[in-house]
């Protein structure tokens, strides 16, 4: 929204007026809502923002463009059209408006999910099902005087009461609503946050920071035992790039900005951060920092902890920040590491200085088919060993009959326009399975994206393909690679389609040393199947995995797990038991509790085991010092 930097020049006032009118557009809401519509000026910013912030993706009223009970934009989803073909609606994605011929069969063959058995979701949010807000009058009064916009509207509150865990979405689809925040506030800048946190401390209300709402760790769930008024602090309006420093290649950014806006805005100036988590369309910079996020291009650019230079966080004890922008410091334990991964338990991250890079001049997709998962992993290991990471990334693999990446990839393959391409595809498949003797049930695909300067990209591409060849890999073309890349963004929409037809599922991740990758994949997949059988799941579950990130000493592995729940009385409970067992199996096999999703409340029970009792004590004492009254009472992590 408005830049509203202080200084008081009349042109700025004008600009502010203009932006106010833009904001006003977003603020139309049902009458009777007790919202104060105010666009207060943010004082204290020393300079004018570098990039203007019109046309941001996420409005204050998320319900205008987002689903209330599913993933992403309201207009984008998989549906079966009148002919019974699967189709992706909307106009936002490359896949939008296309027919996906294989998807229906894939759903049937994989899950036994047919068109006849539909599990319809509650069509719209019933506001009367939402418990009335418990407001702290004194707090609300004082908040009004600060001019920070807020709302106690039912929809606003429900939108901020959940992330995207299966049980959260499932409950919404059933129209069940539990404890939700009592109020939502939208600070516009750092100093707004300072005021809110001060008031929260003064009146002892509970604050839960909210960024993009893409959490999959139950981190946004309101603790049911919380008796104080719960305020959801939505950072989405703090979304400006405050400055770009081309000499040092850094940018100073407000933490509420969401990934795609950040990338788009930087691109306008010829830069990028290179941080691209799968959720980057919706997740926020502050959220990344608070959960220790990882992006698919991390091999070139690094994970969030490698990208941040400076963080500003507002805590009940005041503001924490470093005094300089040195690229590295030896000043005791890095205080940033108390902030990164704090999951909203210590304060609100308001501003971040992070590294930026010039937009790469050349990009090239690629893909390799391996005869089996074992060979694929061996190849990835070799590529990592040779430190070729600099110019490739997004390497992922999946075993099990083309499942997901190829099968899904195949299923999701849009109708091909020319007969010639499909002929070529058939030929390739023939070559792979018949001529090369690959077992179609065991082969797996790695998709690649190289970027950098053209010469280097081509050179690295060759090196990677040479290594792949040593492990029996065959180059499988650029479009397979591109398809894999495209899939990352639409795959989340697939779950909503599944849920329409009695299929529930989720993905979860871990990180594991190289020598255990194959073992953990096999054992966790087997455990899932075993547990499903044990818990009475009537249909064979989908249980598969892929390697999504590589490191010098290990890899990040994603597991996908879904099943048809027809015949089960409490599918979510069964799902949770299986996921719990799968996590136990991950830990028993030397995997981490989480690679980048975080702990939240979902994985809290394993924290002590993961970091030892002393470790827990250290974290707890930080919490006790920074937030003795548990103002940031989401009860995540500890």
């Amino acid at each position: 929204m408005a830049s509203n930097s202080c200084g008081g020049g009349s042109d700025r006032q004008m600009a502010a007026q203009h932006r106010l009118s833009v904001i006003a557009g977003h603020l139309q809401r049902p009458s009777g809502s007790n919202t104060a519509v105010l666009a207060a000026e943010c004082k204290g910013q020393g300079s004018k923002p570098f990039v203007s912030s019109e046309n941001r993706t996420v409005p204050r009223r998320r319900q205008e463009i987002m689903k209330w009970n599913g993933w992403g934009y309201s207009d984008s989803k998989f549906v079966y059209n009148k002919k019974g073909q699967a189709e992706f609606t909307g106009k936002r994605y490359k896949l939008s408006g296309m027919i996906i011929p294989g998807l229906k069969d894939w759903m049937e063959n994989t899950f036994g999910a047919t068109l006849q058995h539909k599990a319809a979701a509650t069509p719209a949010l019933n506001s009367s099902a939402v418990p009335p807000p418990t407001l702290n009058e004194a707090f609300v009064e004082e908040l009004k005087s600060t001019g920070v916009p807020f709302s106690a509207d039912a929809e606003d509150r429900v939108f901020r009461a959940h992330g995207h865990c299966l049980h959260e979405i499932f409950a919404l689809r059933e129209g069940k609503i539990g404890r939700v925040p009592d109020m939502v506030v939208w600070p516009n800048c750092h100093s707004d946050v300072v005021k809110i946190v001060e008031l929260a401390c003064k009146h002892n209300v509970c604050l839960i920071p909210y960024g993009g709402g893409t959490s999959v760790s139950s981190a946004l769930e309101c603790p049911p035992e919380e008796t104080r008024s719960i305020i959801s602090l939505d950072t989405s309006q703090m979304n400006r790039i405050l400055w770009i420093d081309e000499k040092n290649l850094t940018a100073h950014i407000e933490a509420g900005i969401i990934g795609q806006d950040l990338e788009n805005l930087l691109n306008e100036s010829g830069y990028c951060t290179g941080h691209e988590p799968d959720s980057m369309e919706f997740s926020s910079l502050g959220g990344w920092v608070a959960t220790r996020a990882s992006g698919m291009k991390k091999n070139i650019y690094g994970n969030i902890e490698d990208l941040v230079i400076r963080i500003k966080m507002v805590t009940p004890q005041g503001v924490i920040e470093k005094s300089c922008q040195g690229p590295r410091m030896s000043t005791g334990p890095d205080i940033h590491h108390f902030i990164m991964g704090s999951e909203g338990t210590l304060g609100v991250i308001t501003e971040v200085t992070m590294k930026i890079r010039p937009v790469p001049e050349y990009q090239k997709y690629g893909s390799v088919v391996f005869p089996n998962f074992e060979q694929g992993v061996a190849c990835l290991r070799e590529v990592a060993r040779q430190h070729l990471r600099c110019h490739y990334h997004h390497f992922f693999l999946s075993p099990d009959n083309f499942n997901l990446m190829f099968s899904t990839g195949h299923a999701l393959k849009p109708q091909v326009s020319s007969i010639f391409t499909s002929f070529l595809d058939g030929l390739k498949k023939f070559y792979i399975t018949k001529f090369k003797g690959f077992d179609p049930n065991r082969l797996c695909v790695a998709t690649l994206l190289f970027e950098g300067n053209r010469e280097k990209v081509l050179q690295h591409e060759k090196q990677v393909y040479d290594i792949a060849a040593k492990f029996g890999g065959l180059a499988a073309g650029e479009d397979n690679g591109q398809r894999g890349y495209m899939l990352t963004f639409v795959i989340a929409y697939l779950r909503d389609l599944g849920m329409d037809y009695f299929v529930i599922g989720e993905s979860f991740e871990t990180s594991v040393p190289w020598d255990r990758v194959l073992d953990i994949c096999r054992n966790v997949k087997a455990r899932i199947i075993h547990e499903c059988k044990d818990k009475g799941v009537q249909f064979p579950p989908l249980s598969t995995c892929r390697v999504t990130q590589t490191y010098d000493a290990g890899a990040c592995v994603y597991f996908y797990f879904a099943f048809n729940y027809r015949g089960l009385s409490d599918p979510v409970h069964v799902y949770e038991q299986v996921e719990h067992a799968a996590r136990e199996e991950i830990l028993a096999n030397g995997g981490s509790l989480s690679h980048h999703h975080g702990v939240g409340k979902l994985r809290k029970e394993w924290m002590r085991e993961a970091v030892s009792s002393v470790g827990m004590g250290m974290l707890q004492s930080v919490k006790d010092y920074v937030d003795p009254n548990n103002i940031f009472g989401s009860r995540n992590l500890l």
Binding site: P513, D515, R516, D519, N523, R527, N589, G590
Partner: protein
């Protein structure tokens, strides 16, 4: 599958067991040659499998595990790397099996002939086989047969072949290698050979454990080994050896396979081929070295009737479910998995418990023949002179009583109910004609010698002992059924009052004393006590209330039987104690212990101070010594000139002896130990 299966359920009567089918029946109807040449296509493990024995060797030699140890050994010993590596492949060559289908077919043919000649039937629970067929596809399988005879592993492979199951890789003792032709043939039918002891040899251990693990990890074949380590000469189950089980569980604990299925197999022989051989061995005639010619001498066995064999494939036990909540597997993720490590305390106790449970599972599914009951009764009622033995009709009546008691205790008894009891008894007696005589309607053990032999008193005693020990080995088969109630009965007998607490402490003392002798799961004392109380209350022998354990009016017969079944062991242990107190010289070593104690016991037997010739069993003597060592009544001197000699704590021994004899209350004895 679940771990609970291994535990004895609350009421053993409710135990459900499968029915048997006779394998030989089919063999008697169709040609053996065709059977031996038939198409053999076993079900295979679903995972990627290696089928060639040579590939297996390469995998072992190239493994990280072996490389690590080879490097280590080379560094420590200064021997060049290549030499150590070469030594490793020599070890592997000596160890590895070379499975060949043709050899297997040869065995299938000859064994069919032999089996048909000497056995009436070989009965197998086919449901168990079906379970095995299932589980072989799912997970790596470890077959754990009981070990009572050389026949065991030939029989196992024969059955696996018959049922189209993959042929197991069998861990065999190196002594078989001595039998030149047969050793190689066994190798070609799937046996691999391990040295009996290789304590400190790191390289040997590395090759061996990696070989076994590679077999498991790659689903090459089911692994087969004997938990008891060696053949039980007494027909009692032996204390399990943990080495191989540790190795077999390792791939699961380290996450290299999803699960490992352990299948206890109980093989029970109506007549053990080696029966008198074992008895002689226990009496001190050393074990004949396995040799091919020795095997051919055994040809005369072909003309004898050895009754039937029962093979029971128990329900597979998943290592995963055993380990659930017991072992924190993530401990293995903190060091590279190829570096050999001693199992941690919790892993060790987990493997130990599992091993005991598995041996118990073997015991529980052993089929007991009527003869086993007769042998128990005859040993208790030997009489003398004119009154030697038991009148036949009395024996029948007693046997029926014992049969019913057995069944109430949940024994797996094969007593044909459709045949009159008198026939069952007489056919059993005739099958064991070598051990028992019937004349003038009295049944007695065949103790006396042909008159023309002029033997010394000692020789005569020993030859009688052969018969007694042979009989005892049959009685021993039923011991596991009666053990816990018998310990309770003996505890009641020795306890100074009927106070439950007092009885329990007696029970605990005896249980502790005998835990090298019998299979008593570590840490299950309370459970065992409760089981014994439950069973004896159920059969109406005891009344047990909150504080007291009282003998019921009609319980005397049961209790008397139970006490006397344990009596030889009680007396034997007392003998060992008094030997150590009275006769042990300064220079007594463990090696010289058995001959010395044997001479001592012979003396007592001849003087008539001891009734039980079976105390001459070296197994009992060794177990007693092991128990005394464990309790600290005897200590082995480590180091110095007297290294290896036994140092005796006379005060403690005296008090143990008195407690065993019921002359000292356990409470006092326990205090004395402390």
């Amino acid at each position: 599958m679940a771990s609970k299966v291994v535990y004895s359920p609350r009421d053993p009567m409710l135990k459900k067991r499968d029915d048997f089918e006779d394998v030989l029946e089919e063999r008697r109807r169709s040609g053996d040659l065709r059977y031996a040449l038939r198409c053999y296509s076993p079900v295979l493990y679903k995972g990627p499998t290696t089928s060639k024995a040579s590939e297996l060797k390469t995998m072992v030699l190239q493994s990280d595990q072996l490389h690590y140890v080879v490097n280590q050994v080379s560094r420590e010993s200064g021997v060049p790397l290549d030499d150590v590596q070469a030594e490793a492949s020599v070890i592997l060559e000596e160890m590895a099996h070379r499975l060949q289908l043709s050899t297997v077919r040869f065995f299938a043919f000859t064994l069919s002939k032999v089996f048909k000649a000497i056995f009436r039937s070989i009965c197998v629970n086919e449901e168990g086989v079906q379970r095995l067929q299932q589980v072989v596809q799912e997970h790596p399988v470890v077959l754990l047969p009981s070990h009572r005879s050389y026949m065991d592993f030939l029989l196992m492979s024969y059955l696996m072949y018959t049922y189209d199951l993959p042929l197991p890789a069998i861990a065999a003792g190196m002594d078989f290698m001595g039998m030149k032709v047969v050793g190689e043939m066994l190798r070609m039918s799937g046996a691999f050979f391990i040295r009996r002891s290789f304590g400190g040899d790191k390289l040997y251990w590395a090759v061996f454990s990696e070989y076994v693990k590679t077999i498991l990890r790659n689903g090459f074949a089911p692994l087969e080994f004997f938990l008891e380590g060696t053949r039980s000469r007494t027909s009692k189950s032996l204390t399990p050896k943990l080495g191989l089980l540790n190795i077999a569980m390792d791939p699961f604990l380290k996450g290299e396979v999803f699960d490992v299925s352990l299948v206890p197999v109980s093989i029970s022989y109506e007549r053990v081929l080696e029966e008198t051989l074992y008895a002689r061995e226990l009496l001190g005639v050393p074990k004949p070295k396995e040799s091919t010619s020795g095997l051919f001498k055994a040809r005369r066995v072909l003309s004898e009737d050895y009754g039937s064999i029962h093979v029971y494939f128990g329900p597979p036990v998943s290592v995963r479910s055993l380990a659930e909540g017991r072992v924190n597997r993530s401990q293995f993720s903190l060091t590279p998995r190829h570096i050999p490590r001693r199992p941690s305390e919790d892993v060790h106790s987990f493997v130990n418990d599992a091993a005991y449970r598995l041996v118990r599972a073997q015991e529980e599914n052993m089929v007991l023949k009527p003869w086993v009951l007769l042998a128990s009764l005859l040993l208790q009622n030997q009489g003398a002179g004119q009154n030697r033995g038991v009148p036949l009709d009395e024996l029948i009546q007693q046997a029926v009583w014992l049969r019913d008691l057995c069944r109430q205790f949940g024994a797996f008894l094969h007593w044909p109910d459709q045949i009159p009891s008198s026939e069952v008894v007489s056919s059993s007696l005739s099958l064991h004609g070598g051990l028992v005589r019937v004349s003038e309607d009295r049944v007695y053990l065949a103790l006396e010698q042909e008159p023309h032999c002029s033997l010394t008193a000692e020789e005569e005693l020993l030859s009688q002992a052969v018969v007694v020990l042979s009989c005892a080995s049959y009685r021993n088969q039923v011991l596991h059924v009666f053990l816990r109630p018998a310990l309770l009965a003996a505890a009641i007998h020795t306890a100074s009052s009927s106070q439950k607490q007092e009885v329990y402490s007696s029970f605990l003392f005896l249980r502790n004393m005998f835990s090298n002798e019998f299979i008593l799961c570590p840490g299950a004392a309370v459970q065992d006590f409760e089981e014994a109380c439950y069973l004896l209350t159920k059969v109406g022998a005891l009344h047990i209330n909150q504080h007291e354990v009282l003998t019921a009016e009609r319980g005397h017969r049961t209790l008397a039987f139970l006490t006397s079944i344990l009596d030889p062991f009680l007396q034997g242990y007392q003998m060992v104690c008094s030997f150590l107190c009275e006769d042990a010289t300064q220079a007594l070593t463990e090696r010289r212990f058995v001959p010395a104690v044997r001479a001592f016991i012979i003396k007592h037997l001849l003087k008539g101070r001891l009734r039980y010739p079976e105390v001459l069993s070296s197994d009992l003597q060794r177990n007693a010594l092991a128990a005394l060592l464990r309790l600290g009544a005897v200590q082995k001197v480590q180091g110095g000139e007297e290294s290896g000699t036994l140092k005796v704590n006379r005060v403690m021994l005296n008090s143990l002896e008195d407690t065993l004899g019921g002359r000292l209350s356990t409470q006092k004895a326990l205090r004395a130990h402390l």
